[in-house]
């Protein structure tokens, strides 16, 4: 058993009275004041998350000559410098090794941000596929990252780093000076609100964290609120909703797969497209405040047709919501489902994503 890693912010979390728990090989804050209060803070004002645990790789070299393009479900070549793109690393069977975001730092430089947990596996898979002699480095654990998310995040950052923040487009980034040091600020996130991910030197993270929390508009939020926020948007969580046995087509994430390019797993995806899928990701709303939970059975017309992969009580909708995989004939919007676990039986209806539609994501 590997010992759990800690981010540079461990003492800050302890000082704030956070409840800590293991996540993806790290000991991370789950909540400070309470998950619902932190969730509300993010939707209404701004929340600050420690995301130093996320994996980060750096590639420098000739993209075309290195063969790196073949490892990704989406095109790297066409990402403009200053933009980022979301997609997948797949295995030969089309199963998802990880979902990640790639930043085009320069014509010959890429930064990859992956999930905590699969990062070693990801790094090995990419490295094994590289030809030529590009630089490929794992910066995980040596690079700081904070997520500032919420309707007030833009104003806060503009006051701190300059009005240039206001020009960053959705899924774009800028190099900026924060606390006298270089940082990368991208307009991305995992909450459905207007928000930014800030990449900076590990030695600056504590200072920035403290500085941001002095602002009355901002409060810290843990992984509990983060999970609730992402689920209300229908964003998948790797390890819950996505894994090596699940393809992007089954997960309904076709738009992050470019079948006009060659990549590992493409043949399997095309085969699946032709032959049809036995299960597809489905979003459903429960008729009460009860939460569906990971592992609960999904029934349709009295028969078990799948399993819940994520579920929670949604504060914004005031009812239980969930994601799961079911046979395609039970996945049409409006279909009635039953969610069952031991004596628990919940009535649910298939809905379209996102669950929550009033976020400030594109504001």
């Amino acid at each position: 058993m590997e010992t759990l890693k800690t981010t540079s912010l461990l003492h800050e979390h302890e000082r704030l009275g956070a409840r800590m728990a293991p996540f993806g090989g790290w000991i991370m804050p789950i909540q400070y004041d309470g998950i619902l209060a932190e969730h509300r803070r993010c939707r209404e004002s701004a929340a600050l998350f420690d995301t130093c645990h996320m994996g980060r790789f750096l590639f420098a070299g000739d993209i075309a000559a290195s063969g790196i393009e073949r490892l990704f479900s989406f095109r790297l070549e066409t990402i403009a410098v200053g933009r980022c793109r979301y997609g997948f690393l797949l295995n030969e069977q089309g199963g998802i090794l990880d979902d990640l975001t790639v930043y085009r730092l320069a014509a010959d430089r890429l930064m990859m941000v992956v999930n905590a947990g699969p990062e070693k596996k990801d790094f090995a898979a990419i490295q094994a596929g590289l030809g030529g002699n590009p630089l490929f480095e794992d910066l995980t654990g040596h690079a700081g990252k904070l997520d500032l998310q919420g309707p007030h995040s833009r104003d806060v950052l503009a006051e701190l780093a300059g009005d240039e923040v206001k020009d960053i487009p959705f899924f774009g980034f800028r190099r900026m000076t924060i606390l006298g040091a270089e940082a990368i600020v991208s307009r991305t996130g995992y909450t459905g609100e207007l928000g930014y991910e800030i990449y900076l030197g590990d030695d600056r993270v504590v200072d920035l964290w403290r500085l941001l929390l002095k602002d009355g508009r901002i409060a810290p939020a843990g992984l509990g609120a983060r999970d609730l926020l992402r689920l209300e948007m229908g964003y998948s969580l790797y390890g819950n909703d996505l894994d090596e046995t699940t393809t992007p087509l089954e997960a309904g994430l076709d738009r992050f797969v470019d079948l006009t390019k060659d990549f590992r797993g493409k043949d399997a995806l095309i085969r699946q497209q032709t032959e049809g899928m036995s299960r597809v990701r489905t979003a459903f709303r429960v008729s009460s405040r009860r939460s569906p939970r990971h592992g609960y059975q999904i029934l349709c017309r009295g028969e078990t047709v799948g399993t819940v992969t994520s579920g929670a009580f949604s504060p914004m909708l005031g009812c239980g919501i969930g994601l799961g995989y079911v046979s395609p004939d039970c996945s049409q919007t409006g279909t009635h489902l039953e969610i069952r676990h031991e004596e628990i039986s919940l009535e649910a209806t298939v809905v379209e994503l996102p669950f929550y539609r009033d976020g400030t994501l594109r504001r």
Binding site: Q31, G34, I35, L36, A37, G224, L228, S288, R289, R290, S291, R293, A312, F313, I344
Partner: protein, 124 residues
């Protein structure tokens, strides 16, 4: 009126032959934000230690056990629409049920306030 506690963190406040039942502040704190309380039907008979109701928090669903054997006389209907009352006031407003106690001898296995506080103090 005397209040007794279980090692599963329920309390029962006894008044004559009936008692109000709830969960302790410690339990409410551990559960985190409560989002749903599934209350039993009035008239239901429960045995001491049997599942009385279920409380869901943002983190998990937890069973609440009957501190004594008895019959459910009344449930706290306010919790249907505002389960967060249990977080705010676990000892008072956030009571779950009122039950008629059929076997008061079950009290022997419950804890006094002092015993419960000592018990909680050594929990991990």
């Amino acid at each position: 009126m005397d209040t007794y506690y279980t090692r599963e963190h329920e309390w029962i406040r006894i008044n004559g032959t009936s008692g109000f039942v709830g969960i302790t502040g410690y339990a409410a704190e551990q559960l985190g934000d409560i989002t749903f309380v599934e209350l039993p039907k009035v008239g239901r008979e429960v045995r001491q230690g049997e599942i009385l109701c279920t409380i869901e928090s943002v983190k998990a669903a937890s069973d609440i056990y009957a501190p004594l054997s008895g019959t459910v006389m009344e449930v706290n209907a306010a919790l249907d629409s505002a389960p967060e009352i249990v977080n705010r006031s676990p000892d008072e407003e956030g009571w779950l049920v009122r039950m008629e106690i059929t076997e008061p001898e079950g009290l022997k296995s419950l804890l006094t306030r002092g015993e419960y506080d000592d018990y909680v103090r050594v929990l991990p």
